[in-house]
Assembly symmetry: C2
C-alpha cells in the first residue's frame, strides 16, 4: 500500500541536497512570514508577486512528478524531506527537529511564528495537533514499534503562545501491534496541550519491516 | 486574554487587500510546491534562493510587528487572514474555504498537494487534524456558540490520499457553554478521518461577546 522508494542518493549527495535545497526551503520560510506581515504598497506587492512567479517557473523547469515521497535506504532509515512537520525541503514545516532521548522517547525545541497563528497571537490548535501527531509517531518509531496513527486525542489546557516552545512524546505501553503514546507541548510556564495517540502497524507494513534489515526509523 | 483588534479597514480596502496580498500569498503557495519538487541544478537553486532573499527584504521594508492577528468589525465579524488553515494571506493555508450550509453545519472542498504530505503520497495525519480543528470551530461558530477548542479526537480509518478532498462538520449537542461537534474528511470513496471536538466559551470570551453586536463569525 505505502509507496516507499528505495534511496538512490549517496550520503554525499544527500548532504549536498540538504544544504542546497534545504537552504532554499529555509529562505522560503522567511518569505512566507514576510508575505503575511508585509505592509508595502500595492504596486510593490504586485511587483514582488510577478518575480515570485518567475522564480517558480525557473524551479519548475525540472521537477519530480507528484509529492516528494519517502525514501528508505539499505539500513531501513527513512528520509521524508517533504513532510509537513519535519521536512527539510518543505517550507511549511517549521521544521521541527526531533531528537531521540531514550528508548521510545523523543523531544524537540522549535519556534512558531506568524504562519502558525490560530486565535490572535496564539498557535493554531490544529498546528499543535499536527506537531503532536509527528512527535507521537517518532516516539513509536524510537521504541522500535513504528506504525500508522490509528487515533489521536488532544486536550487543550490553555492557549499556546507563538514563539519558542518544546514538545516531548513517550511510549507508555505496547500490546501486540499497538503502541500507545503520550505527548505534550509546553511553553516556559509548562504544558499547554496534551496528546494521547495509538499507533498500529498493519499487516502489509509488518511484512515490509520483516524484509528490511533493521526497524524503520524516521529522522 | 485574546487580543482581537478592531477592524480599521473599509470594505473597499479589505477587498483590495484580499486581491493584492491574497494574490501574493497564492503565488507563494505555488513557490512552496516548486521548492519541494524542483530538481534543477544546485547553481540554479542557489541563484533562486538569493533572489527569494532579496524579495523578502523588499516585503519587509514595511511590515507589522508580530503575527497578523484577528480583527473584528462592528458587526462582530472576525477577519483572520493569517490563520494557518483559512488565512487568505497565509501561504501555509491551502486555504480551505469553509461554507456554512445550515445552522451549526459547515463544509469545504479543497485540494492538498505536496506540501501536506506525511506518509508517502498520503496527507499527513496531523494536517487532517489541523483542518478538522478549524472545521469544527467553524461549525460551532455557525451554530452561534463559538468557543476555544477544549478537546479534539481523531480516528483514522485509512490513509487520506493527496488531491481533491472534502470535509464536513456539524454541531451535535450544546450544553451551557459547551459545544460538541463531529466532523470528517472524505475522498471520493468516503470518509478517511473522523473527528469529535468539544468547544468551550470561557468567561472572558462570554463577556467580550456580550459587548459585541452579534455573535462572532469567522469566514
Amino acid at each position: 500500500m505505502l509507496n516507499y522508494r528505495p534511496e538512490r542518493l549517496t550520503p554525499a549527495q544527500i548532504e549536498r541536497e540538504r544544504e542546497v535545497a534545504g537552504g532554499l526551503a529555509q529562505s522560503t520560510r522567511e518569505l512566507v512570514d514576510a508575505v503575511i506581515r508585509s505592509t508595502v504598497a500595492d504596486e510593490e506587492m504586485l511587483a514582488v508577486q510577478a518575480e515570485i512567479e518567475a522564480l517558480t517557473a525557473r524551479l519548475r523547469a525540472s521537477e519530480i512528478d507528484g509529492p516528494y515521497g519517502v525514501t528508505i535506504n539499505k539500513a531501513g532509515e527513512a528520509r521524508n524531506w517533504g513532510n509537513s512537520v519535519v521536512g527539510v525541503r518543505n517550507p511549511i514545516a517549521p521544521p521541527v527537529q526531533i531528537e531521540r532521548i531514550a528508548q521510545g522517547k523523543v523531544r524537540a525545541d522549535f519556534v512558531l511564528g506568524a504562519a502558525y497563528e490560530g486565535p490572535p497571537e496564539l498557535v493554531h490548535g490544529g498546528v499543535s495537533a499536527l506537531i503532536l501527531d509527528q512527535m507521537c509517531g517518532a516516539a513509536a518509531a524510537a521504541a522500535g514499534t513504528p506504525g500508522m496513527t490509528a487515533s489521536l486525542s488532544m486536550t487543550y489546557k490553555r492557549g499556546t503562545p507563538l514563539g519558542a516552545l518544546q514538545a516531548e512524546a513517550a511510549v507508555v505501553r505496547t500490546e501486540d501491534h499497538k503502541t500507545y503514546v503520550e505527548a505534550h507541548i509546553a511553553d516556559t510556564e509548562g504544558p499547554t496541550v496534551l496528546a494521547e495517540a495509538l499507533f498500529v502497524l498493519p499487516r502489509w507494513a509488518r511484512e515490509l519491516l520483516d524484509k528490511a534489515p533493521s526497524p524503520l526509523s524516521f529522522e
